[in-house]
Amino acid sequence: MQPSISYATPEPPPDDRLSHRRESPLPTRLARTGQLADRSRAAVLEMIYRAGSGHVGSSLSCVDIISVLRFDQMNWSATRSRSESDVFILSKGHAAPAWYASLMVGGDLGPEEVGTLRQIDSRLQGHPDRTRLDLVDLSTGALGQGLSVAVGRAQAKRLRGRGDFVYCLAGDGELQEGQIWEAVTVAGARRLANVVLVVDHNGSQNDGLLSEIMPLAGLAERFRAFEWHVQDVNGHSHLSLMDALANARDNQAQPSVVIARTRKGHLGPGRIALNGSHSATLTTEEYESAMRYLEGRRDESHP
């Protein structure tokens, strides 16, 4: 079936996110990121549905986070060197469709590639592969490595005297990897204030609920103990995410973590796909139903 909602953006968003952030009134910004997030969700669903495999739940849980970062908060440009702009590291690489979707919606990746996810010779590998697509800032997939690279890039930017930020998106289950805490230790000890970690705290992992498999007790306290600036927000509220990310940049003394409470498979208020499963595949009925829901949202929420 052809998608009834288009994820391709009629007008590419302004290239300079910083000026957009400064000049547009808040309601305009929120309406814009809301609309672009819904387009991204549609692209995620179409990519994974056509691929017949992919992590729907984990991709959808972070679409709002990526949309706020990519379309409002980050100074990220497909054409500019990463050494001269912000960096985005998707440490939870299995959510690659969410990043690919933002690139399509942002006009940096042609919509004709939507059907190539996970196909042979595709630029859209199942997990981000920088050697095939340089629009991903880091190849990821084996979990736990992204924050270390973020620390290295932040050190480099500090050495060069640049004010760019390095944003790293990690899953909550991923925080079970020990290397994450090696990187947290260094960033805190070196006061790398240009590192912003966003935790997609959706509460579930491959085998089930995080709380049953390996709970992350005292998560905020742990980060504080490592001298990080901690915020705990609703990860589907664009307003909360914008505030938290602005606060993170304002804190010049510490690295920042935004613990973003999300739901796996989030499509919109009260609506999730595949009962929040980690990597189940979409049936035609589920795909069509989800797309109809998103189309309805466009008519209701974003006139």
Partner: protein, 313 residues
Amino acid sequence: MKATRDWFGESLADLAAEHEDIVVVNCDLASATKTAAFRARFPHRFFEVGIAEANAVGVAAGLAQEGFRPFVASFGHFLTGKYLEIFQSVGLNDAGVVLVGTHAGLAIGKDGPTQMGLRDVALMRTLPNVEILHPVDGVETREMMRHVVGHRRPTYLRLCRQPQREVHDPRHRFVPGAPDVLHAGRDVVVFSMGGTVGVVLDALDTLAARGITPTVVNVSSLPVDAAALGDIVDAHRRVFVIEDHYVRGGLADEVARIVLDRGHRVAFRAWGVPDYGQAGDPRDLYARYRLDRDGVVHHLTSFADADLATAPR
């Protein structure tokens, strides 16, 4: 005589004066890996991450992505133990990190197998974009360092702890991938790398007295030029590979693959460490594992006596 890790430390500090993109990521081993001289001269370009090699690999990948040429130095055993992190953060990102693995082989001695870099070459050989460099002496170490700071490819630099004799003239120039013929002989060609090369050269007089004059080839960088190595093999009836590394996965496998691919009709033998290694005085260990001068004499004498009619054809 100095160890290649000492030559490395001096070269690094010297080159860093001209190359401002050189940075170091350290894992609490600056004195052992000889990056301390760099730290003393360029403290703002020296990043300490503590005893955390996986994180060091990632931090270095990030620095490389931002245009720096980072050196991560640790014991080769510990560093390549973070294979998954090297595979993804360095390899699959094609990040221009120089991984410096020191204390290669049995020479760490009494500390035992948990510290011995005996399978690092095997692991790094699997990564298609990683250049492996293992210098034989001070001249080659300095030459390799000049080469390394001139490109941005992922690199594994394997260094030894034990002092090694100088085998090269100071005017020697390193050519990546080129097999480096140090002694021309006949009948048997010996391929080796790093500290073992000097051991083979030390055995030449004893071997000559027994009528054996091997060609000695220093294979100091991988992947090696297969055509050039094959041409050398063509001039010999026997091929012997000896290395201070597990017998599986290292130089012997690289050479054997080239020999088989070319369809050479030669007898082939390889010698290395066949088990996990063990603690002991380095001299005792090299004798025990027959990787010393007497061992080389033993292997090449028995190989020379072997009936080539039984060699696979």
